[in-house]
Symmetry: C2
Subunit: 496 residues, 2 copies
């Protein structure tokens, strides 16, 4: 691709300026429509050092109302990004509906640099490519207009520009050792960029622009942006089609076939609780020092005992190293972004534990049943969630998912007890009773969820909770077991 | 204080355990009431290295539902905190209504360490003390229950504990060079802690607990927490009384006396616009390199021309170094915290520019007039805002506040034009017309705001905007002027 890049023929200067002016005027007209149609736009600008990415962005935004766009550059991303998954800085920076984000280099540059520096393995590189494809497709399917531009200059042009920058005291500081290294290794970078673009050209294609001829690059970028926005406005907000990817799924029983009779004696409960909590406390220390991120997901019927179960897990943990994230209905700024955004922004750092009290699975349960998203949205979500979770476990996270299970009679008994016990009345609301009436529909949704998202890397565990003590011990055992496994494992360089 | 600290007499072990158990039971009962009464609680635990702050926190939270509390420790605060004001990590971490936050050391430790390391000047130390007092009072007045505990151990006890930690391979890593330095300089720290507590004991007092006798410390801390929560629940959410602090105020004209006739010719506008934008672009570079944070505040009548004015300022700026923050009505998670929280979380980093399109002054305008807060709240806000802004300028920020001013006839003309121009109709809503009817009430509120919050360090500028071109040039001139001043100034070590 890059190696065969042809320079476009020169144009009359006046005609070019006129064209740019017209395109800008169209862009101004579009910004309001983007707002009305709630269409979010993400423009990724990648390219060579000194190719002029920054000034290209300046030219693109010059007439846009600053309330409608943001520019994000990796330099602005806090340094602690390294303690999060590789896509974290980008996934947390996506625009809300009706706004534009311009990214001054992103997931391409960070991947290529790390690869050429041999900081990530070939295997990790492949994983990243896969994550990028998934991430871009999920954005597109979630209604985002995503444009990817590569700004190209050749070896001689780069040399000329780096020399010019270095020769003035005012601009010298802009040339970093990294830039000089890239210039020395121009050929290697050329191949690596080409490879990256070839591997990530689908489903969102790349656009290569000639950075040597700046005005033409501005015109071409504007044209691309304006045309693609027009198309998107015309077509209306895109809703991606569901499709199945091949994930190795574990076999799960139907809820109705789960035996809920297991119990545990009081003495055994006490002894086991102490033993497991002591062990968990030790393991938390190891996890912290080995920088293993841990994500525990709790889902289950109302009154199944999620809260009490979580408390028994949290009790032995060092409170500086874990968080419990209660997930309620999304707030407006969350609804205005791709549905996984509010979970990306809540991920634990490496070495930390996050316990989600309800999770992203709301998409295929309450949002499905209450019609808070389209059918395509929730059907697509199984796959999107499997991808998201694979990205987390690729990062090195231990990810456990619990379905806290009870039967309808037990729920009724607990609801009634709550209703009749003054200190517990706050725990029971009219909504709980309404949800209870929808038990059969929920059962269908939960069964489908368990069947479609119990992957090898992120399995579901059904926790029989008619006896809450039994449920707590079972959850603790599973956590201890999986953490022990993770602590023993030799870790690849995924925590760079 | 510390030097005279008396050890409490020993107690029967059983009685102590029983007392702790009872206190915990009371705390469990309180958590639900805190939620219902929307009372937020912040517990700051300071103290010596190895005094047992972490394990004290563990004991305090052991029975609280993890959905109701969080533990924050400086180690968990991202490393980029240094690019924000000194209180930033704490001001952004305050709990929402109904929740508890435990801080494992905070503004005391960071101030004392920096002072003893000679990293901050005596003058900066005094500023920090003042900020701390203001911050704590604002939290209290905003309905927060704030508890400050200092966990004390003497020199010999600290030595014993550091030795014990160092002697085991499992715990050795917990002893940091900083801890050893503190131990060597025990006396200096003792004096510095004492001084800090003496200076910040009002309006929120300190509680010193004996870290040597752990169970007693747990009992005392629990008792303090439970008693104070009971008092707060009994008294109901506290709303602070307004009070005036002495701020050097600039004299401001009444709006009705502002001459709105100034205009500018087209040629002069074009020439000045270019000159000022070019200069601003240069200055942005200097600001970035000198790491000066810049905060530009826009307030003004509907249709006064804020948006267009902001665009002319943003145009020459490097988009990687500035953000425009449109401020709309607060979302639920913002309403659930002290009113300045949503501005703390939006501050620019050093070297960056943030343009606020509407600001924290909503408190004394729309929130006052629409009854979104109590009278005490908005009356108190003048002072709270002056303090907040002084904290920002103490940090080194350039802070400019513009009131974009027009008269009623001009507003009517612009509203009518918007109504009659299809591309502009989105800019005008029923709410704008309703607000227009309240012009006289707003005028009273704006006048009061201008009189009470135009401080020397953060002055208001009235921008006459009947002629929008004139207004843009005036704003740009002021920005350029103030930035030039700031760039010339020698900076103290406020950016540590």
């Amino acid at each position: 691709m890059l190696k065969d890049f042809e320079k476009s023929s020169p144009e009359e200067k006046d005609a070019l300026n006129k064209e740019i002016k017209e395109l800008r005027a169209r862009l101004i007209g579009q910004q309001q429509l983007l707002r009305e149609k709630k269409l979010p736009v993400l423009v990724l600008i990648e390219g060579w050092a000194a190719a002029g990415k920054g000034s290209l962005i300046n030219q693109l935004i010059s007439e846009i109302d600053p309330r409608f766009y943001n520019v994000v550059s990796p330099a602005v991303i806090p340094e602690n990004e390294a303690r999060y998954p590789f896509l974290y800085p980008y996934a947390t920076a996506i625009p809300e509906n009706g706004k534009l984000i311009f990214l001054d280099s992103g997931w391409m540059e960070s991947t290529v640099r790390k690869t050429l520096r041999l900081e990530i393995s070939k295997k990790e590189y492949k994983r990243r490519i896969r994550s990028v494809i998934e991430f871009e497709r999920q954005l597109r399917d979630g209604g985002y207009l995503l444009l990817k531009i590569f700004l190209h200059i050749d070896h001689d042009e780069q040399l000329k520009r780096l020399k010019a920058l270095s020769s003035s005291a005012d601009t010298e500081w802009r040339v970093t050792p990294d830039d000089l290294w890239q210039h020395r290794e121009y050929k290697k970078f050329l191949n690596a960029y080409d490879e990256f673009m070839q591997e990530t050209g689908d489903p969102v294609e790349w656009h290569i622009l000639d950075g040597k001829r700046k005005r033409i690059a501005v015109r071409d970028a504007l044209k691309l942006l304006v045309t693609r926005i027009d198309e998107a406005l015309e077509a209306g907000r895109y809703i991606g089609e569901p499709f199945e990817e091949e994930f190795p799924l574990l076999e799960m029983p139907l809820l109705k076939d789960v035996d809920l009779s297991p119990t545990i004696s009081d003495e055994e409960y006490k002894a086991e609780l102490k033993r497991l909590q002591d062990r968990l406390s030790e393991l938390h220390n190891v996890i912290y020092r080995k920088k293993i991120p841990v994500i525990l997901c709790y889902e289950g019927w109302d009154a199944a005992g999620k809260g009490g179960n979580i408390r028994r897990v949290a009790y032995p943990l060092d409170p500086r190293g874990f968080d419990v994230m209660p997930i309620a209905s999304p707030e407006p700024h969350e609804l205005n972004r791709q549905f996984l955004w509010r979970f990306w922004t809540r991920l634990p750092r490496t070495g930390h534990i996050c316990i989600f009290d309800r999770t992203w699975y709301g998409r295929v349960m309450v949002e499905r049943l209450e019609g808070f998203c389209t059918e395509k949205d929730w059907k697509r979500a199984y796959n999107e969630i499997n991808e998201f979770e694979r990205q987390l476990t690729d990062w090195g996270a231990v990810l456990l998912k619990f379905w806290i299970h009870i039967d309808q009679d037990t729920q009724l008994a607990r609801f009634t007890e709550r209703q009749n016990t003054p200190e517990k009345q706050w725990k029971i609301t009219d909504e709980d009773w309404r949800n209870r009436e929808k038990w059969p529909q929920y059962e269908v949704a939960v069964n489908e969820m368990l069947q479609k998202t119990s992957t090898k890397n992120a399995p579901w565990y059904i926790i029989e909770s008619n006896d809450k003590h039994y449920a707590r011990i079972k959850a603790l055992k599973l956590i201890v077991e999986q953490l022990e496994k993770a602590c023993r494992k030799h870790f690849e360089n995924t925590f760079d």
